[in-house]
């Protein structure tokens, strides 16, 4: 808004303008809302009825394959994907089959996809020959105590026509913790409501006033009366679930993350106490006594809050910690270590589900990449790289120009262009092996260089290839990841935080690359290549997509290999079909 002082200056001569603007706006407001002035209570009731009518068809009554048992779920896309509690599908895991009833009165076959036993979430898919009604996820971090909350589900299994039971109340607590059984069913950062939640509501959606899913109901507190609602219901927050959705869609067992570090709190000052020696936190240089100021930009003021928030993240998720070490503030990103859930039987992910997701992600990537009429990948690529090497500190920045080419199924060749105009051939990369070409000046490519090139080779050679022709036997969808603007602070078109879907692809004998695609746009945002024997990792962040003759391709790569960082700006593309 305009600062008040500016108002004052405009007052004397802008009065007429302002008053007429005000009148104009009020007329506008009046005409769109004139009807509501009649009976605001009836109008509020009508709005609520409308919202409920719109979203109720997305709610499913869940049963096992024999139509026994009762739980609830909610559909989140037209293909029939839906969310529920892990404990609702726990008994269906042998055959991974169940039944879901919708408000159209029909029972649909249900397939269990991925599970998150620690967080008590699971994903399923209904089988049907038509587009399913679905609801959209909202931002649970925007929820405040006192907000309207509408729960839908099948308490006491009383729905005989599969229409959901709708109950209404308020959000009565946020960021609540409800302990689980051991490592399972922990509601570490849940939403508390007084809308009636009873046995059978488990797995069903919690909606806000405008019909967005803000949580999945799954727990209640009970008193001596027994297992029924006493005004204390708990829902797993939608933002927590969103982080796990790529893994759940891909049929995986999703693990939660831990820092393996305890904290102590002294009146809102939280400091690390014990850090496990083999943890990522220790590897990131976190030490006993370091103060924890914030976690993912949320100020941390108690040990419970620290535990609660952390419990909502997946294993390997990069969390941003703002620390104070020896008086100085430092930002650290740590990838969480895994927490292994308890399970009676081992859960083997279904390969066909995983494959389906790999194909979907690749197709969407291709859709995002091909701009024109062509859907054939270019057969030959040539381009120039202007490379700047920054970090480690104290090392002088170096810049160099490189030329790269990849023709047909042949290997990728990269040559450094020297200042004196001479050409030095560096190395070549092809899938499965790295060949050194000795001609002119040669260089022993380091492992990180091999890995980077191998990943980019896969990117150009395979990711744009028609999905049906690919041999995906050794390719895996490994779940989700997160991309943060901090990952690429200087990138001009850097998006906000994005959820990524990760496909793992072997690059060469000992290296595997994880290609991370934006869940919404399909863009490839990042590649992480890992050398399996040593654990060395190279991260390539891609940005600045531009059309290069029918293909949207990144023009900028930020490469991090241990302490070394490169910024590659790509240009002078020559592609041919």
């Amino acid at each position: 808004m305009i600062p008040a002082s500016r108002f004052v200056r405009t007052i004397r001569h802008g009065r007429a303008l302002l008053v007429s603007a005000a009148l104009a706006l009020s007329v506008f407001a009046g005409t769109t809302h004139g009807q509501t002035a009649a009976d605001p209570v009836v109008e509020a009731e009508r709005r609520r009825i409308e919202v409920i009518e719109r979203v109720a068809p997305s709610v499913a009554c869940l049963f096992d394959a024999h139509q026994r048992g009762g739980g609830s779920g909610v559909l989140i896309d037209a293909e029939g994907h839906g969310l529920t509690n892990y404990h609702v599908v726990a008994e269906m895991l042998d055959a991974r089959r169940g039944l879901g009833g919708l408000s159209d009165g029909k029972l649909y076959e249900l397939e269990v996809l991925g599970i998150d036993p620690t967080g008590d979430v699971a994903m399923f898919r209904l089988r049907g020959d038509h587009a399913f009604p679905f609801a959209t996820l909202g931002d649970s971090d925007a929820v405040r105590v006192g907000d309207a909350a509408i729960a839908m589900g099948n308490p006491f299994s009383i729905s005989e026509d599969y229409t959901p039971t709708v109950t209404s109340g308020l959000v009565t607590g946020i960021h609540r913790y409800q302990s689980g059984t051991g490592k399972n069913l922990v509601y570490s950062d849940c939403i508390q409501v007084d809308a009636a939640i009873n046995p059978g509501n488990s797995g069903g959606p919690l909606f806000n006033a405008i019909g967005e899913i803000i949580g999945i109901n799954g727990r209640i507190s009970v008193n001596r009366r027994g297992r029924l609602n006493v005004g204390f219901g708990y829902a797993i927050s939608s933002n927590q679930i969103t982080r796990f959705m790529p893994a759940l869609r891909a049929g995986l067992l999703a693990r939660h993350g831990t820092l393996q570090a305890t904290v102590t709190a002294e009146s809102a000052n939280v400091a690390f106490e014990r850090i496990a020696a083999e943890s990522s936190a220790a590897a990131a240089g976190i030490k006993r006594g370091d103060k924890l100021i914030s976690l993912d930009a949320v100020a941390i003021t108690s040990g419970n809050q620290y535990l609660g928030l952390l419990g909502a993240y997946p294993a390997d998720w990069p969390v941003q910690l703002l620390l104070e070490q020896n008086g100085a503030r430092r930002n650290v990103v740590v990838r969480l270590d895994p927490v292994n859930p308890k399970s009676k039987k081992p859960f083997t992910p279904d390969r066909s589900i995983n494959l389906r997701e790999i194909e979907r992600v690749l197709r969407r990537f291709q859709q995002a990449s091909f701009t024109g009429e062509t859907t054939r990948r270019p057969m030959s690529w040539k381009w120039t790289i202007a490379r700047e090497r920054s970090a480690p500190q104290n090392a002088p920045a170096r810049s160099e120009r490189l030329e790269a080419a990849q023709i047909g199924d042949g290997p990728m060749r990269v040559r450094r262009l020297r200042d004196d105009g001479l050409i030095g051939s560096l190395f070549t990369a092809t899938e499965g092996s790295v060949i050194e070409e000795v001609s002119g000046e040669t260089l022993q490519p380091t492992m990180d260089v091999q890995m980077t090139l191998g990943a980019i080779y896969v990117m150009q050679r395979w990711l744009l290839e028609a999905v049906e022709t690919l041999d995906l036997t050794s390719v895996q969808h490994v779940g989700g990841d997160r991309w943060l603007p901090a990952d690429s602070p200087s990138a001009p078109d850097a998006p906000r935080e994005r959820i990524l879907e990760v496909i793992e692809w072997p690059v060469c004998e000992q290296a595997r690359a994880r290609f991370a695609f934006d869940q919404e746009t399909g863009r490839l945002l990042r590649i992480r290549v890992r050398d399996m024997p040593t654990g060395e990792e190279v991260v390539v962040d891609l940005s600045e997509l531009r059309d290069i003759g029918g293909v949207m391709w990144p023009h900028r790569m930020e490469i991090t290999a241990g302490a070394r960082k490169y910024r590659d700006v790509l240009s002078d593309w020559e592609l041919s079909p």
Binding site: A4, F7, V8, I11, R15, L18, V19, A21, A22, L23, L25, S26, A29, G30, T32, H33, R144, V145, G146, D147, G169, L170, T172, G173, H175, R176, Y177, S179, G182, Q192, D194, S221, N223, R225, N229, V230, G231, F232, A265, S267, A268, T301, S302, G303, N304, L307
Partner: protein, 349 residues
């Protein structure tokens, strides 16, 4: 600011689509800072928990009779997480109410601690005539804040419930087999308030005015249902205005009622409000059955009667589930060794 401009902006604001702040926002803003979490500390275990309502700037807290009132020590946690000790300054057996006074936790033998001033509180205005007529009506929305089930810890905001005032009627109820002594007016609340920890919760209307306080858990004689009710503000005022004289201890007044006594072997576990702390023995009461059985400080309790114990709360639950009079088998980790002890039963005082 120029009047015309102000008028123009106000006109705009009133007709523009409202950025809803939520209808209960005012109630919540007033309510949450003015309620405290109460915990009774007995020997070795928590003796009841509940909620209290701040009624003066210098630390007077209104609450309801419960186990915690007779505890050896009462702890209060304010909405900002500040810890206080609380002592009972007035009781009312008939209305089942109690008035506590907060003090900063004693740090030394003779330290009094600074006097409390300007704490957020409800201005009861008991003597004002206007207050007497300011009664809430059936149909009015109310918001309730308290700590049922101990969901909130430390500075975490308390749990909230909402509903209308259902009715105003006279209370005719009992607690287990004993008739409940208060038969005066109560406000029936259209929210579940009959939960452990709820007694003492503050009830406010849409304007944030205190209209009542949730009473002890009772069963209505008229319906045989758990009764959701609040003691009305005017009854609270009667209590506050009365000179104190009733010093009957709660336990004496209700000798035959409440849950069967918890077996207290004399073990005090380490508790700091930090969730999931392992059940480590902090102290063993001198002369207790645990001491006789050989339990020592720093012992880590692994199982009680064969059931694994994950944290202090599970330990409390296990104790409550014990059959009085039966000995308890406890497996302990002491340093690197595993030790089994049998704690003999003893009558609870």
């Amino acid at each position: 600011m120029n009047r015309t401009l102000l008028q123009a902006l106000l006109f705009l604001a009133s007709t523009a689509p409202t950025l809803h702040a939520g209808g209960y926002e005012r109630s919540l803003d007033v309510l949450l800072p003015r309620v405290v979490k109460l915990y009774g500390l007995g020997a070795g275990a928590q003796a009841g928990y509940g909620t209290g309502v701040m009624v003066s700037p210098d630390g007077l807290v209104l609450t309801v009779f419960s186990l915690l009132i007779d505890a050896r020590r009462i702890r209060a946690v304010a909405s900002d997480g500040t810890l206080y000790d609380a002592e009972v300054v007035k009781r009312d057996t008939q209305r089942q109410l109690a008035l506590l006074r907060l003090r900063p936790p004693s740090t030394g033998a003779n330290e009094q601690g600074a006097a409390l001033t300007s704490l957020p509180h409800f201005d009861m205005q008991c003597k004002e005539a206007a207050a007497a007529t300011m009664k809430v009506r059936p149909g009015d929305w109310v918001v309730v804040a308290g700590n049922p089930f101990k969901v909130a810890e430390g500075a975490e905001p308390m749990s909230v419930a909402h509903g209308v005032i259902s009715a105003r009627t006279r209370l005719d109820a009992r607690r287990s087999v004993k008739e409940f002594p208060y038969h005066g007016d109560v406000l029936v609340v259209d929210a579940i308030t009959s939960n452990p920890g709820a007694p003492g919760s503050a009830v406010v209307d849409l304007d944030g005015r205190l209209v009542g306080m949730i009473g002890r858990e009772v069963v209505s004689n008229l319906t045989h249902t758990h009764f959701n009710y609040a003691m009305p503000r005017d009854v609270l005022c009667e209590f506050l205005l009365e000179a104190s004289g009733d010093t009957t201890k709660t336990s004496e007044a209700e000798r035959t009622e409440t849950a069967p006594p918890t077996f207290d072997p004399g073990i005090r576990l380490t508790r700091t409000g930090y969730r999931k702390l392992p059940p480590m023995v902090e102290r063993v009461r001198r002369g207790s059955s645990a001491e006789r059985a050989g339990v020592r400080p720093d012992d880590l309790i692994l199982t009680v009667n064969g059931k694994a114990i994950g944290d202090a709360e599970e330990y409390d639950d296990r104790l409550r589930a014990l059959t009085p009079g039966e000995p308890v088998d406890v497996v302990i980790r002491r340093g690197r060794s595993i030790v089994s002890v049998r704690i003999e039963a003893e009558k609870n005082p």
